[in-house]
Structure formats: structure tokens, C-alpha cells
């Protein structure tokens, strides 16, 4: 059976390939296809450093022979290449193990969210090259003119991408959706003796929703200037306030700990804790696939299961793990529609819009409540062990004394254990913003060890 490329629609490519795999002997199959256009520019000191533009496409095939399966990927959509792809994938599948948990979702689980999630805007692709460059230029100009101590910059960026994703499987599901994305950012260098770098950014699904680039530039400048004169703090155990950017990284660790992939392997400190109290009573964390224009929203996941909202932690109690079909079967539970697949490999578990619900106090009030502590604005390093919850990362920020921000701090670490940290979230701010698929407001955590001098 020859693939009919004249159809020119990604859904047809996907379902055509599924059919080809089945007729070659697969007992089940699914295909993800992506097509995207991208653009990016870097400006520095007002001059264009680079301009990059491209269109690309790729697909991933998963073929089952009973409960054995294998995956393959390619960017070559020609009929002959896809034929070879099917043959090789089936040959690999026969070498893998029988795995009773593997397989497509049950047919009744498949579907798509019918509403408009507002994932795509034509204005991103329609921007002229000059307009795109202007976003970056205006951000950098604002940063460079903010203060005489800012004379240099690493650069300013504008990035955009837009495209279509399609998914089809041998149970008859076929669907696709478009999405778009754009971002402007700038990284100024502040200097007063020593040099410090920081950055700020705005991201959106539509160009008209980007923040004013001059405001982005001014905030980036403010953040860089704030670091000047930074020094080490003494080693101590104090309350730590995480700004929303760093608080988001904590949410990321919680996500890693509630993913089905980690849970069924006992590779998470939250294994076996469903229904138990795992965090302070003020902590509610949701995984919301329906948020309009959300960076983690989509009408169906990478197995064709429709988007939904899953409560993960409710007032401190662990309610649900996040699952795809495979991990759901391993745990005798039901998929939560979190299947996420890169082109290579089987579906894993990815976040939808995974966020910590906002609290009441404005962030300024949280800072005022701290007599002596550390306000963290940047974290570096990878010292987080999801199996044990052990946490140790490099940090910069500002020292808090009597509720006021005082001297900037650098070259220290903060350390603790995530299980304890979750139970010592003493305050959650009102400043929740969605700047990625993960989001959190300002947080106050007790009992971390700051290691410095």
C-alpha cells in the first residue's frame, strides 16, 4: 500500500503510517508527527549577532507485536524511507521483552478536549523579520540605558516557533493541533569593580501578549544591578524565601517525584504515599491541561487521551500521581493524560500546567515576616536526588535582616531534604504567574542549611 503524500496533512501522514505498520504485521501502532517553523535572532550592543530561520518536520513510530514494542524516528517522509522504517521497527519489536503493562490506551479512554485552548496565534509567524529584531533591540536598549553601571550585555534574544503536531493510532484515533510560541529576553552585565550578569524574559503564545520589551530590559537591569557587591554568607540554618523563578524549580522536583515513571520503580521519595500528608496544609498543587494558552496545555496527550485537570496535592495530602498508560497499568491506576513523547522512544510522563496554587500574602509581606534569612533569586547545579529527596544546590540572592533585603549573596549553597521542605512551607505568596508549564508563587521554607563561610 503506497502512502499518498498528496494529502499533505499531518494527520494523514500519521494514520497512513499506522496503517502501513499494521499491514506489515504490527498488532498495534501509533505515530507522532511534528512540523514546525522557527526563527531566532541575537542582538548585542545594538547590532545583530545572528539570524536563524528554518522549517523542519519529523515523525516517530511505535509498533507493537503483542506486548513487545519498539520505536523509531525519521525526518524523511518519502514512501520508501517509511517502508524501511516500518520493517526495522517491527524487527526491533521482536527482540524486546513481553511486557504486560505496555500497549495503547483502552479505546474508551481516547478523545480530545473539544474547546479552544488558544494554543496558536498567526501573529507569531506573521511578524516581519524587522519587527522580531525590534523586540530584542528595545529590550537591550532599555537595559543598557537603565544605569551607568550597565555598559555591556551578553545579548538580547527574540525567538519564535509555530507548527502542528499530529497523533494517530491503530484504534482509529487521529488528531492534530497547532501551537505557537515567542519569547524576548535580555542578559545585561552590571559592573562596579566586579561583573554580574542577570536576565529577564517574556514568553507568550501570541506576539501581542508579550510584555513590553522595554519593561523586560529594565527588569533585567534591576536584577543584574542588585547582584553588585555580592559576598558569601556565613554557614547557618535559616528560613529561605524563594522568588517565583526559583520556587518554580522546587515545583519541578515535586513533578519529578510524582511522575509515574519514578513511582512504579520506587525511585521517588513520594512512593507509597498516596492519601498521606506530604506537605504543609497550605500546599495545593494542580496539574491543569485546560488552561487557555497554557504552555502545558494541549487537547490530548501523546497517547490520544484528552486533557483534564488533576489534583496532585490538596491541602498537603497527596491525591494523585501523574501517569501515562504504561505507568497506570504498572500501578493499577488510571492514566491522568500525561503521556509525553519525544520523537525517540516510548511515551514518558510530562507535566501539563503544573502549579502551586497562590496564597494570600503579597511577597513583600512574606519578606517582612523574616527576621534573619535568605531570599534566593538564582539556583545553579543539579544536586537533587528524587529517590531520597536530598537537596543541595548553589544559590545567589539577598540577605534578609529584620524583614528588609540587605546585601547581595553569592557562592553559597542551600541544602535540605525535599520531603522535609514540603512540610515546612510556611508561607505561599499571591504572585503566581504562568511563565512556563511549571509555575509557583514566592515561597517561604523553614529549616534549610545555608553553607558559606
Amino acid at each position: 500500500m503506497a502512502l499518498r503524500m498528496a494529502e499533505n496533512s499531518l494527520e494523514h501522514v500519521a494514520s497512513g503510517l499506522v496503517a502501513r505498520a499494521v499491514s506489515a504485521g504490527a498488532t498495534a501502532a501509533d505515530v507522532v508527527v511534528r512540523e514546525a517553523d522557527e526563527f531566532s535572532t541575537v542582538l548585542r550592543l545594538g547590532k545583530i549577532e545572528s539570524l536563524k530561520e528554518a522549517a523542519s518536520k519529523a515523525l516517530g513510530l511505535r509498533a507493537f507485536v503483542g506486548t513487545r514494542s519498539a520505536t523509531s524516528f525519521s525526518s524523511d517522509f518519502s514512501a520508501s524511507s517509511l517502508l524501511r522504517l516500518v520493517e526495522r521497527t517491527l524487527a526491533m519489536a521482536k527482540v524486546t521483552s513481553e511486557d504486560p503493562a505496555s500497549g495503547l490506551p483502552a479505546a474508551e479512554l481516547l478523545g480530545r478536549y473539544a474547546g479552544d485552548l488558544e494554543l496558536y496565534s498567526p501573529d507569531v509567524g506573521e511578524l516581519s523579520t524587522d519587527d522580531r529584531i525590534q523586540f530584542a533591540r528595545r529590550a537591550e536598549e532599555a537595559a543598557l540605558s537603565a544605569d551607568p553601571r550597565i555598559q555591556n550585555s551578553e545579548g538580547a534574544w527574540f525567538e519564535a516557533s509555530w507548527g502542528t503536531k499530529a497523533y494517530a493510532n491503530s484504534l482509529g484515533f487521529a488528531g492534530s493541533y497547532r501551537s505557537s510560541y515567542c519569547a524576548v529576553s535580555v542578559a545585561p552585565i552590571a559592573q562596579n569593580g566586579g561583573m554580574q550578569r542577570d536576565y529577564w524574559y517574556s514568553v507568550a503564545r501570541r506576539a501581542s501578549a508579550l510584555e513590553d520589551p522595554a519593561a523586560v530590559g529594565r527588569k533585567a537591569a534591576e536584577r543584574a544591578l542588585r547582584k553588585l557587591g555580592a559576598r558569601k554568607a556565613s554557614t547557618c540554618r535559616v528560613p529561605v524565601v524563594f522568588d517565583p523563578e526559583t520556587a518554580r524549580s522546587l515545583l519541578g522536583h515535586v513533578f519529578e517525584a510524582v511522575r509515574g515513571d519514578a513511582i512504579y520503580r520506587s525511585a521517588s521519595f513520594l512512593t507509597g504515599k498516596l492519601g498521606q500528608r506530604v506537605a504543609s496544609g497550605n500546599v495545593t498543587i494542580l496539574d491543569d491541561g485546560l488552561r487557555p494558552s497554557g504552555f502545558g496545555s494541549r487537547p490530548f496527550d501523546d497517547e490520544g487521551v484528552p486533557a483534564c485537570i488533576t489534583p496532585v496535592i490538596e491541602k498537603g495530602e497527596l491525591r494523585n500521581y501523574l501517569l501515562n498508560c504504561y505507568t497506570a497499568r504498572k500501578l493499577n491506576m488510571r492514566t491522568t493524560g500525561n503521556a509525553s513523547r519525544g520523537l525517540a522512544g516510548p511515551p514518558m510522563v510530562g507535566p501539563k500546567n503544573f502549579y502551586l496554587a497562590a496564597g494570600q500574602p503579597p511577597p513583600a509581606e512574606i519578606l517582612r515576616s523574616v527576621r534573619s534569612g535568605f531570599y534566593v533569586t538564582e539556583l545553579i547545579g543539579f544536586g537533587v536526588n528524587i529517590v531520597t529527596g536530598d537537596y543541595s544546590r548553589g544559590a545567589s540572592g539577598l540577605w534578609i535582616e529584620n524583614g528588609e533585603l540587605t546585601f547581595p549573596v553569592q557562592e553559597v549553597t542551600i541544602a535540605g531534604n525535599l520531603a522535609e521542605m514540603l512540610n515546612h512551607i510556611e508561607a505561599i505568596g499571591s504572585d503566581l504567574e504562568f511563565r512556563s508549564a511549571l509555575a509557583a508563587p514566592t515561597l517561604l521554607v523553614e529549616g534549610l542549611t545555608v553553607a558559606g563561610t
Binding site: 554557614t235 516510548p346 545553579i380 536526588n385 548553589g394 545567589s396 557562592e411 541544602a415
Partner: protein
């Protein structure tokens, strides 16, 4: 298998006149230099988990990236379709970075044969049977589970790739290469009385499967990963604060990669934003330290016959007896800084713009006996294995996270401690190296470096060294720590 293989000519009908046409289109609007980067990469991987072969994946990535340089500016476009009209289209898009009439013309191309082959693999792994690779992961699984009854979970992964590249420059130079890369990894979880701990180990390089038949066998990595997890079962809280730190040989060389390597990449230095900017000729380390970046070590994960701009790789001395000697240059930074490329212009794939990246970054061996170095420490930390690291090249602060470390008390290695992140200052940390051992080792072939959204394989190496003062990010303040 030679690196002048005619892959793109034979398989895709690419001809030299084609290359000339594409280059002409690229420089049609001016520009000082243009290059075409053709890439065909085939990748395969296997995952064994819970003793089941859960996943087998294969894939092909094929495309061409066209770059145009005009002064300090870069125009870039790429396509995954090698049809001539598609490549001409992207060449014209990249050309738009310049403005004005064409100033270059490329007449006649010369294929430059590299003078060396650092990975003469007879039979690339991608041509080997899946069954042979399966046998490797199964051996790893058995060895890890058999190591100790407390090992509960074992995950063994195998991955390989072969990359064919052809780079044609507007200076008429054409180079080709065939780059293998193989890696085996083992991850284990041990459990005792409700306490769960993990360990991991792996290795490989630009080698064939026969690499795993020697000392670097699946059993070796499996036992290492299992041993680490078992050690962690009795680990106590790591200390917090500044102390003497002894680093073991090999992968702890990540210290060099983070503390100085990134800071010496010339793109940061041409912009004047690195903590090492303007410091060539100054002391940045103790006299005991000589650090090189060497892309010419045979078979290593971080090695290349030529960089991704076609420039020959070399051994670049970064720090010589403590004095800063040079940066890692690509073509663009060399043009701006009026130097020459050091063969460090790398890119993740045809979809990416090249920039200065490391290859294998190593400190040369010293004269001391590693045992003497440990004996010289009254109270400190001995760290032998790490996860990853990161650096802010502007203020120079860097971190690397120890995953296996021990207290040193009165010159003896005592209790294991939990993983902790070490933090320091790049331009000063090496000035505090007070002992360098004679046991230089390179890492086993597991390093991947991320910069600006591009990942490339790298290597590191170091002998046992002592750093007189480094901040250890544990949770046990010194006053509470039982340094008895």
C-alpha cells in the same frame, strides 16, 4: 572505515558543482565566509529495566545547515530535505545576514584529508546486531542484581550513534568525517529497612562494541553502580561550610570544566563578559596546575578529528603552571580576537550554529602519591564521584555535585556522606590547589555538556588533587558535625 568516506556523494548524489552552487548562493549578498554542514546521523538505544527489554529505538537524522559570516554577524538556516532547490533556498535565507554584492567566489573545491583518525573503528556499532547489544545490557543487569541482595531496581541503558558529516567552506576546503559514539549506563536502587539509595555508573567513547570486552565491561559498570547505592545506605549528612577537599581522579575533573573551561570559551571573552576576560598572562591557578583541552586523544567521547567548522582539533594549553595561556576559539571568535581557531568550534547538529565548546579538558599529572595527599588532611572531604555541574561565567561562581564522598579525619577516609554540592569561584579555586597527584585518569566516557540550548559530548580528566578551601553544601554545620 576512513574519515574521507564519500557517503554524501554516493548515497545522496551530492556533487562538487552542487557544493559550489550552494556556496555561491550563500555568499550572493556579500559575506566574508560561508559553510555548508551536511549531517547524517543514525542512532539506536536499548533500555533494560526490571530485567525486561522495555524499549528499543532507532532513528535517522539528516539535513544540511548553511552558515554565512559577515563581520561579527552570522546568518543561519537549515533543511532536512537535501533536494537542491531546498538547499539553495536556505542558502539564500542565510545570505540575508550580509548586504551588498557578492564579494567571494568559490571556484574549485579541495577535499582535505585529515592527518589523523582518532576513532578508526573497524565495525561501527550501528552495524552490529541488536542481539550483541542486548547481550551487553543483560550482562549488566545480572551483575548489578547479583552484587548484593539489597539491590532492588536495576536499569541498564545502551546508546550508540554514527554521524557522517561533510563540511564545505567558501575557502574551497571540504572535509568529511565518520564519528562513532557509544555509551552504556547502569542505574541501581538499593533498599534496606525502608531506606532507598541510588547509584550510577557508565562509560564508552568513540569506539566499537569491543570496547566493552575489556576492563570497561558491563559487569564493571554494574558493580560500580551497585556499590555506590550500597555505600549510600550508610551515608550520613554531609558537612556544611568551607573545608579542605580532596578530589579523586577521573570524573571529578568536572571541576575544570565548570571552574575554568566555560569561562575560557572565546565567545564569552570576545564579549568581555567572562571572569577570565582580559586575563591572559595572569596567574589563575597554583604553579602545580597545568590544564589542557585536548580533542586529539584517541577513542574518547570528547575527541574529534576536526571540529564542526572543519578545523583540525588540537591540544590547547589553557593554564600552564598556573598562568592563563589561552582561550578556546572557533572561527568567529578567532576573527574578532585576531587569533586562530583552536579547533573548538562545535555544534550539536546541522540545526545549530557553531560556538566554542570544550573537547577533553584535563589537568596534567603531578608528582604526589594520592595516599600522601589524603594523609595530609586533618579534617576535610574526599569526593570521588559526581553528578553534574554548572557555572555563571560572569561572576565565576561554579558548582559540581558530589554523589559519592567521604569524611577525611586525621588523614584517614572514614564515613561516607550524602551527596552535596560544592561551590567555588573559578578564577581563584585553582590557586588553592596545594597538591596534585601522579594518578591522572580520564572520565569513563559519560559527559555531556549543555550550553545555550546545545548539547555536545565531552570528556574530563584529573589526578587526585587537594583544594585547601571549598564550600561544601551539606546539612550538618561544622559545630554539630562529629569530626572526632
Amino acid at each position: 572505515m576512513g574519515n574521507s568516506d564519500r557517503f554524501f556523494y554516493e548515497r545522496y548524489g551530492l556533487t562538487e558543482p552542487d557544493l559550489e552552487r550552494y556556496l555561491a548562493a550563500a555568499v550572493s549578498e556579500g559575506g566574508d565566509y560561508a559553510d555548508l554542514y551536511f549531517e547524517y546521523t543514525t542512532t539506536s538505544s536499548l533500555l533494560l529495566d526490571e530485567s525486561l527489554v522495555k524499549s528499543a529505538t532507532e532513528g535517522i537524522s539528516l539535513g544540511c545547515g548553511v552558515r554565512v559570516l559577515a563581520g561579527e554577524q552570522t546568518g543561519y538556516a537549515y533543511t532536512d530535505d537535501l533536494a537542491p532547490e531546498k538547499i539553495l533556498k536556505v542558502a539564500r535565507i542565510a545570505a540575508r545576514i550580509a548586504s551588498g554584492p557578492a564579494r567571494l567566489s568559490t571556484v574549485g573545491l579541495t577535499t582535505v584529508e585529515p592527518s589523523h583518525d582518532f576513532y578508526p573503528v573497524l565495525l561501527p556499532s550501528t552495524d552490529r546486531d541488536l542481539a550483541e547489544k542486548l547481550a551487553l545490557v543483560e550482562r549488566g543487569d545480572r551483575a548489578a542484581r547479583g552484587y548484593d541482595s539489597r539491590i532492588r531496581q536495576v536499569r541498564v541503558s545502551y546508546g550508540d550513534q554514527i554521524r557522517h558529516i561533510l563540511i564545505a567552506g567558501s575557502d574551497g576546503r571540504v572535509v568529511m568525517d565518520l564519528q562513532p559514539l557509544v555509551r552504556l549506563g547502569v542505574f541501581t536502587i538499593a533498599q534496606e529497612n525502608g531506606n532507598l539509595q541510588s547509584g550510577s555508573s557508565g562509560g564508552g567513547g568513540r569506539v566499537g562494541l569491543e570496547f566493552f570486552q575489556g576492563e570497561q565491561s558491563p559487569e564493571h559498570f554494574a558493580r560500580e553502580a551497585a556499590r555506590q547505592a550500597i555505600v549510600q545506605l550508610t551515608a550520613r549528612a554531609a558537612p556544611a561550610g568551607e573545608m579542605e577537599v580532596v578530589l579523586g581522579p577521573g570524573w571529578p575533573g568536572i571541576l575544570l570544566h565548570e571552574a575554568i573551561g566555560h569561562g575560557l570559551e572565546a565567545d564569552f571573552n570576545r564579549k568581555g563578559i567572562s571572569a577570565f576576560s582580559g586575563r591572559i598572562g595572569q596567574r589563575v591557578a597554583s604553579e602545580l596546575c597545568t590544564v589542557v583541552d585536548d580533542g586529539t586523544i584517541p577513542g574518547r567521547r570528547g575527541s574529534l578529528n576536526m571540529d564542526d567548522e572543519g578545523a583540525p582539533t588540537q591540544r590547547t594549553v589553557l593554564i600552564e603552571n598556573g598562568i592563563l595561556r589561552g582561550y578556546l576559539q572557533d572561527r568567529l571568535s578567532a576573527t574578532v580576537l585576531k587569533g586562530t581557531s583552536t579547533g573548538n568550534g562545535r555544534r550539536e547538529s546541522y540545526e545549530h550554529i557553531p560556538m566554542p565548546r570544550m573537547t577533553n579538558t584535563c589537568m596534567l599529572a603531578g608528582a604526589e602519591d594520592p595516599q600522601d595527599i589524603i594523609r595530609s588532611v586533618r579534617r576535610g572531604l574526599y569526593a570521588v564521584y559526581f553528578g553534574g555541574g554548572q557555572v555563571d561565567i560572569t561572576n565565576g561562581k561554579f558548582v559540581f555535585s558530589a554523589s559519592e564522598a567521604y569524611l577525611i579525619e586525621d588523614g584517614k577516609i572514614t564515613a561516607p556522606v550524602k551527596g552535596a554540592t560544592l561551590i567555588g569561584d573559578g578564577p581563584t579555586v585553582l590557586t588553592r590547589v596545594t597538591a596534585v597527584g601522579n594518578d591522572l585518569q580520564l572520565d569513563p566516557g559519560i559527559g555531556t555538556c549543555g550550553k545555550d540550548g546545545q548539547s555536545v559530548p565531552v570528556g574530563v580528566g584529573i589526578p587526585t588533587i587537594k583544594v585547601s578551601r571549598l564550600t561544601v553544601g551539606g546539612t550538618a554545620p561544622r559545630s554539630v558535625q562529629s569530626f572526632q
